[in-house]
Amino acid sequence: MIASSFEGGLSAFWEQVTSPAAVAALKLTFVASLIVVAVNAVSGTLIAWVLVRDDFRGKSVVNAVIDLPFALPTIVAGLTLLAVYGPRSPVGLDVSYTRAAIVVAMLFVTLPFVVRAVQPVLIELDREMEEAAASLGARPFTIFRRIVLPNLLPAMLSGAALSFGKAVGEFGSIVLISGNIPFDTEVASVWIFKAIESDQPGAAAAVSVVLLVLSFVVLAVADVLERRSRRHDA
């Protein structure tokens, strides 16, 4: 595939990657993924915290349900999100055919990554440090910022990197709800799909290579971060 993307030489590759529609799609994908990663880092850590440190009825069910986005087919996710946050929304929130819809779909499919990365670290975290800080008069927020957060950071980063990789390439859950309007709500994977359908495999391959490189870099970074977080544990 890498070979096909360079079939027309380096200049043809560059031309395809920098065509206005491709750039717009790549930029949108990149920015939306960054937003998703930022939200996930916070919400994922929060959910992991509640699952580990809090206790309430039905917690084990909530814990199991976190993995649902892994198990649910993406197109089904897309269809249900459209049902809830589309034109016939029962909660009165219609985000269909907007960029917000893309973020919502990406948030859905990437939900488990940060939660599952942070959870085991939080379980292992020695509570004595926090208790010591509390006995020395530190306020809860200070304890979180100075003691808990630094310990969780590597896991948060590695979970965030995985969400980024998933969000950048997401297709099934986005395709129905985003409307795929070029220059507005068309993400890179949809752009590639359309290019294949309209028989431009070269252009599709070129943008794919950009995504491929991005994914590979993110995955390698995640691997390094994960190993560092494990070292932190030991």
Binding site: I47, D54, I75
Partner: protein, 283 residues
């Protein structure tokens, strides 16, 4: 009242509210919209020819992809753990994880570029009358590709943990390599394999993007369940789309239950950890 509990409840409400909006509500919506016109249209959708054809094709893809990736996954994990390469582990790790991070559409494109009419093997395939793209083999290949990493990734840590002591004991007692594998190694890693198989199955059942690219979408011929959802929705057959979605969602929930049965221990303990009285909480 302990004022220290207020932030805890606040966090709990935020976390559960977030999950409600993102998970529970959409899930309830599938059930609601499936039965919006009663039960009869649902039954019609389930007995529709194109639905049954889609179900069959999905099952074929799953039944080929799961055993293939289980065998490959165990073999690959054995090779990586027992005979680790001296350098470049990070590269191999990234490579195995690639189908996870790769856009499914890109996977489909890669298959077209290799097996399509103008692809590398295209001419040869056409000459021999073998159709891969826009036909069942392409869908099976796409399914195998996207589900490649699951078994490997689950088996590697288990294999690392069981070590080689028992295998070596078996060897010294004269067991053949074959016997050692099937009577010692495989039983030791069986839960890791089972977990990997469940994940593989879930992904194989639900793959959409890669399959959408290579299928060509001939209703009743090259349409899997996920493509059927899309197709029916675009044809404004809402009930049929939601019914198929509900079937897939039910399979997803079944998968989730199996995942919790086979899940590695450290995750399972999550729910049971922390039974300390609330006064003990740091926050």
């Amino acid at each position: 009242m302990r004022s220290g509990n207020a932030p805890r409840y606040g966090l709990r409400v935020i976390a559960l509210g977030y999950l409600l909006l993102l998970l529970a509500l959409p899930f309830g919506a599938i059930v609601y919209y499936t039965f919006q016109d009663g039960v009869q249209p649902v039954l019609d959708a389930l007995t529709d020819e194109s639905f049954i054809a889609a179900l069959k094709l999905t099952l074929i893809a799953v039944l080929i992809a799961v055993p293939a990736n289980t065998i490959f996954g165990v073999a690959c994990a054995m090779a990586l753990v027992r005979h680790p390469p001296r350098r470049g582990t990070w590269f191999i790790n990234s490579l195995i994880g690639l189908p996870l991070a790769l856009s499914p559409v890109v996977v489909g494109l890669a298959l077209i570029l290799v097996y399509g009419q103008d692809g590398w093997f295209g001419t040869w395939l056409v000459e021999n009358g073998i159709e891969v793209i826009f036909s069942t083999p392409g869908i099976v290949l796409a399914t195998i590709f996207v589900t490649l990493p699951f078994v490997v990734r689950e088996v590697i840590p288990v294999l690392r943990e069981v070590g080689t002591d028992q295998d070596e004991a078996a060897w010294t007692l004269g067991a053949s390599r074959f016997q050692t594998f099937f009577r010692i190694t495989l039983p030791a890693i069986r839960w890791g394999v089972a977990y990997g198989v469940v994940l593989t199955m879930a992904r194989a059942l639900g793959e959409y993007g890669a399959v959408a690219v290579v299928s060509g979408r001939l209703a009743g011929k090259t349409e899997t369940l996920t493509l059927h959802v899309d197709e029916e929705y675009l044809r404004f057959n809402e009930v049929a789309a939601y019914t198929t979605s509900l079937v897939l969602a039910a399979l997803a929930v079944a998968t989730l239950v199996l995942m919790n049965v086979f899940k590695p221990k450290e995750y399972k303990e999550v729910a049971d950890v922390d039974r300390r009285p609330p006064g003990h909480q740091a926050v």
